[in-house]
């Protein structure tokens, strides 16, 4: 909760910076603020504070908030260039910080109203940020598409909340759960409400068949914003999804389990198979991000002791790997004016450091030991196995093999293909440090996963 307050005040400070003209100081202030927020968040561990039954700061919320803040810190280092344009500087800071506030609310809500507020506080800045490169037509398109589709999804979500309120008479998660176990909620209205909310959440995590917005928006938006969407937004959305469905709606799992089963299978297959034929790396990573949602759905569906911890670990491993890959894609596409797979040709010769970090990050996304991504996949598969979803695990295994195909296309391009230019791509020193840190953390999380998984 303290972290939430601090993040909101940082957002306000960012707005004030325009008036009191300390724009230059804003970047270090925000980084310092994030570190402080992380420390404050750690103090919330094991306290299980409840705030007027609206928010509940249990360990689940603290752990996910921690992941979100760490990823946000890495993201700010990656996106330093985004905060250099003179004209929109404070807007950018404020929007991103408010989006973070929304993300933290989404992992700690205890009331449907807070869930809705969190989603909107997160989404509205994202609509604007997706269109933040104003002169670029595809960025405009991305913002527009995201807004329209997002509005639809919100509509479904609200309708679902309304129906559930109608069936149970409450917005409060625990009261809804009580009504469900007392049997007073077993009406058709309630089931329809659950399914409508499921659609809304599936849109937010870009699960098939509600994923169609993702590739266009991810490709059109500026790369740094794409990185934000595919890491922080996805983590928050999954945490919210899981919080709702693994507790309150678990008793009525009969109504939604089969739907999610089909969704997970579709997401795994559609995401991975479509990624294979992409020539733009950004679009490929967008489909890969859809595919990763499929793996996380496996743990959500399992609904057992492993689920929370598996999704936490997966979200962390995936987000850190993604920040790494997007950072390199950002550097390369800026230098070569294009994000095609062929712009990575010969990178191992011109920039061996970038190539090695990219390889580690891609191996992690593909789930090859000893990286964090491997352990994440292993953990998800175990959780699904325990729940008896053997068929889905088989689909996921096949999907991972397809995944290897497109991740390795980039690796082969970097090491095997000849580059047209022999000049090294310039890399700023803060990016170098960030990438080195990401490479180390991917290996450390793969070798010593205990420090994350024993949290939940």
């Amino acid at each position: 909760m303290k972290a939430l307050v601090l993040l909101s005040s940082l957002g306000v400070i960012a707005l004030l910076a325009e008036i009191f003209s300390f724009k230059k100081l804003l970047y270090p202030i925000v980084l310092l603020g994030l570190v402080t927020a992380f420390v404050l968040n750690v103090f919330d561990w094991d306290t299980n504070h409840t705030y007027y039954k609206m928010m509940q700061y249990d360990n689940y919320a603290v752990a996910f908030t921690g992941v979100i803040i760490v990823v946000a810190f890495l993201w700010f280092i990656m996106a330093e260039g985004f905060f250099k344009e003179e004209s929109n500087l404070t807007d950018h800071f404020a929007l991103v910080l408010f989006a973070l506030v929304g993300a933290v609310m989404m992992v700690s809500y205890n009331n449907m109203a807070m869930l809705f507020l969190g989603i909107e506080i997160l989404s509205i800045p994202m609509y604007i940020l997706a269109g933040s490169s104003k002169s670029d037509i595809s960025s405009n398109e991305a913002a527009f598409k995201y807004l329209i589709m997002g509005a639809f999804a919100t509509g479904f979500l609200l309708f679902g909340i309304a129906l559930i309120y109608g069936a149970t008479g409450s917005f409060d998660l625990s009261e809804i759960a009580d009504a469900v176990s007392a049997g007073t909620a077993s009406t058709a209205i309630f089931s329809v409400g659950v399914l409508l909310m499921l659609i809304g959440m599936a849109f937010k995590v870009s699960a098939a068949p509600f994923h169609f917005w993702a590739p266009d928006v991810y490709q059109g938006a500026p790369t740094v914003i794409t990185a934000f969407m595919s890491t922080i937004v996805k983590t928050a959305a999954f945490a919210a999804f899981l919080r709702l469905f693994s507790t309150t709606f678990m008793e009525v799992s009969g109504t939604w389990m089969n739907v999610v089963w089909v969704m997970a299978a579709l997401t795994l297959l559609v995401g991975n198979i479509t990624a294979v034929v992409q020539t733009s790396t950004k679009r490929m990573l967008a489909y890969s991000s859809v595919a990763h949602a499929g793996y996380m759905l496996l743990a959500l569906l399992a609904g057992n002791d492993y689920s929370n911890s598996a999704i936490l670990f997966y979200a962390a491993a995936y987000s850190i790997g993604s920040i790494g890959t997007f950072c390199i894609v950002h550097i390369i596409s800026n230098a070569k004016n294009g994000d095609g797979v062929d712009s990575f040709n010969g990178l191992a010769k011109t920039n061996p450091f970038l190539a090695v970090v990219m390889t580690i990050a891609l191996l992690s996304l593909a789930g090859i030991p000893p990286t964090a991504g491997f352990f994440a996949k292993y953990y998800i598969f175990t959780s699904a196995f325990v729940a008896g979803n053997v068929g889905l695990v088989l689909i996921a295994i096949i999907a991972s093999l397809v995944g290897v195909y497109y991740y390795f296309r980039l690796i082969i391009a970097m090491y095997f293909k000849e580059s047209t230019s022999t000049e090294a791509v310039p890399v700023e020193s803060n990016h170098k440090l960030l990438l080195l840190f990401i490479a180390i953390i991917i290996i450390v999380m793969g070798l010593f996963p205990d420090f994350v998984i024993k949290l939940l």
Binding site: P370, F374, F381, T382, F385, V393, I397, F416, F448, D450
Partner: protein, 488 residues
């Protein structure tokens, strides 16, 4: 402690090597590999020749999931660790006259791969075993991708996907058994053994296939072999040696340690089919080897034939079969490295590997011809060479399982002699032609490699007892355990 040293010394050496520039890289890599061999010999000196697991190290790794860093060495592991640590310096020495671009990365990858291979052979925890198993794949993938021959991107990728697909089945099998361990679940080998043996025959059958496919791809056994000839042919010589000399043994070792005791009933149920495939592969690969024009490809196919017989011997689950497999794993490792080195020597001097284009090298370089002949005789299992002991025991083991299959597999001895002797005749004997007339004499390092290999072939052919003494108590104990599990 010594086990940890054996695993991590090559890793540290490999990583340090990345920072070395210049011509001394080769020497340093060789030094590190020889030091590693010395550690292994030291371990052998302190090894009690009984069935116990020694030099154990058990450290809680991922405590909440029952994953441990549990390593140790018994007779079976000892033999394979010796093979690995013996072959890696030899393999590095074979590259002394080859100029690889970016040598520090090349030797670093070889040493890192050695780390993973030793790790596979000493792991006593299912999860750890899987991690090392996959870890071995990454260095060899890059060795083949970066230093390989024509069309390497496609071929090495096929290799990667094949083995990864097999491994994922194994991971599924391991998780399945893990979930059958009592209480908070554990990946420890003993817990997995008892979990596997407590399953009924149908479920042990599932476990058998999940694990067997992974091992069958790695060895490879027919019909999972299609990646192998291309990959062996395209990989740089040292990569091919790592693949065929050591990495293939991961598969056969896997069957001994991670398949037979995990699903004995499953093995028994499907033994006919699996041994049938292996034996069929023996004859099939031998026949294809006969018609090969490329000498490197011919040896690749001969390797499928040899490893098929090893697999058949292990799966027949008797003393002769498993014991023979252990000896043959060692001999095959040494011989195949020798053969691929000979291919490399010929190719470097004549720029061709085509058997028909060569001829009469013996007239130019009789010394080379003599050393080649010894390696060749070891590979066709002539008595008093190392190949004979293993092959004899293996055929004996398969015979006890099914005389017909043994008869069929025995064809491989004849066919092997056919293709090996024929290619020797065509390459070394006959008239010297334009390509071979200027066949340069052997360099010092090349001679050293061939002499080491020939010495190993003859010494262990005449006197195999030291090797069998290391391994036989462990094999006897394994088989005794299997007999109990099978209720014989």
């Amino acid at each position: 402690m010594i086990t940890l040293l054996l695993i991590f010394f090559p890793l540290v050496a490999g990583l340090l090597l990345l920072f070395v520039k210049g011509p001394q890289v080769k020497t340093l890599a060789l030094g590190a590999a020889i030091l590693e061999f010395a550690i292994a010999v030291f371990a052998l000196g302190h090894f009690h020749q009984d069935a116990t697991t020694q030099f154990e190290w058990n450290y809680a790794w991922v405590q909440s999931l029952g994953i441990t860093f549990h390593v140790g060495i018994d007779g079976i592991s000892m033999l394979l660790v010796l093979l690995t640590t013996f072959l890696v310096p030899v393999i590095i020495l074979t590259s002394f006259k080859t100029e690889h671009k970016n040598p520090s990365a090349f030797y670093s990858l070889i040493l890192i791969m050695q780390m993973a291979l030793v790790g596979v052979f000493v792991s006593l925890d299912g999860f750890l075993f899987y991690v090392f198993w996959e870890l071995a794949l990454i260095p060899i993938y890059f060795i083949c991708l970066l230093w390989g021959g024509e069309d390497r991107a496609r071929i090495t990728f096929k290799f990667f996907v094949y083995t990864l697909a097999g491994s994922l089945f194994m991971l599924g099998g391991l998780i399945y058994l893990y979930l059958h361990t009592p209480g908070g679940h554990s990946f420890d080998i003993a817990a997995l053994y008892s979990a596997g043996q407590s399953l009924d025959v149908v479920h042990q059958g599932y476990v058998f296939w999940a694990m067997f496919i992974a091992f069958a791809v790695k060895m490879p056994v027919f019909p999972f072999h299609t990646w192998q000839p291309d990959t062996y042919t395209t990989a740089p010589t040292q990569g091919t040696m790592m693949l065929s000399g050591i990495m293939l043994k991961m598969g056969t070792f896997g069957v001994i340690r991670w398949l037979l005791p995990l699903a004995p009933l499953g093995v028994e149920k499907y033994a006919n089919l699996a041994i049938g495939l292996a034996v069929f592969g023996v004859v099939y690969a031998s026949c294809i080897a006969i018609v090969q024009k490329d000498f490197k490809r011919l040896i690749a196919y001969s390797s499928i034939a040899h490893v098929g017989l090893i697999a058949a011997g292990i799966l027949s689950m008797n003393t002769q079969g498993v014991q023979g497999a252990m000896i043959q794993m060692l001999s095959h490792g040494v011989n195949v490295v020798g053969l691929f080195f000979i291919v490399d020597l010929i190719q470097k001097r004549t720029n061709t590997r085509e058997i028909a284009a060569l001829g009469g090298i013996r007239n130019v370089n009789p010394q080379f011809a003599f050393l080649f002949l010894i390696v060749l005789l070891g590979s066709v299992a002539l008595p008093l060479t190392n190949g004979f002991v293993g092959e004899f025991l293996l055929l004996n083991g398969v015979y006890q399982f099914n005389p017909w299959m043994a008869g069929f597999a025995g064809l491989s001895v004849i066919l092997g002699a056919v293709y090996m002797l024929r290619s020797y005749q065509s390459i070394m004997l006959g008239e010297t032609n334009g390509i071979t007339s200027s066949f340069a004499p052997l360099e010092k390092s090349e001679k050293a490699v061939l002499l080491i290999i020939c010495a190993a072939i003859i010494v262990f052919g005449v006197f195999p007892k030291p090797l069998t003494d290391i391994v036989s108590p462990a094999v006897d104990q394994l088989l005794a355990g299997l007999r109990v599990a099978l209720g014989h």
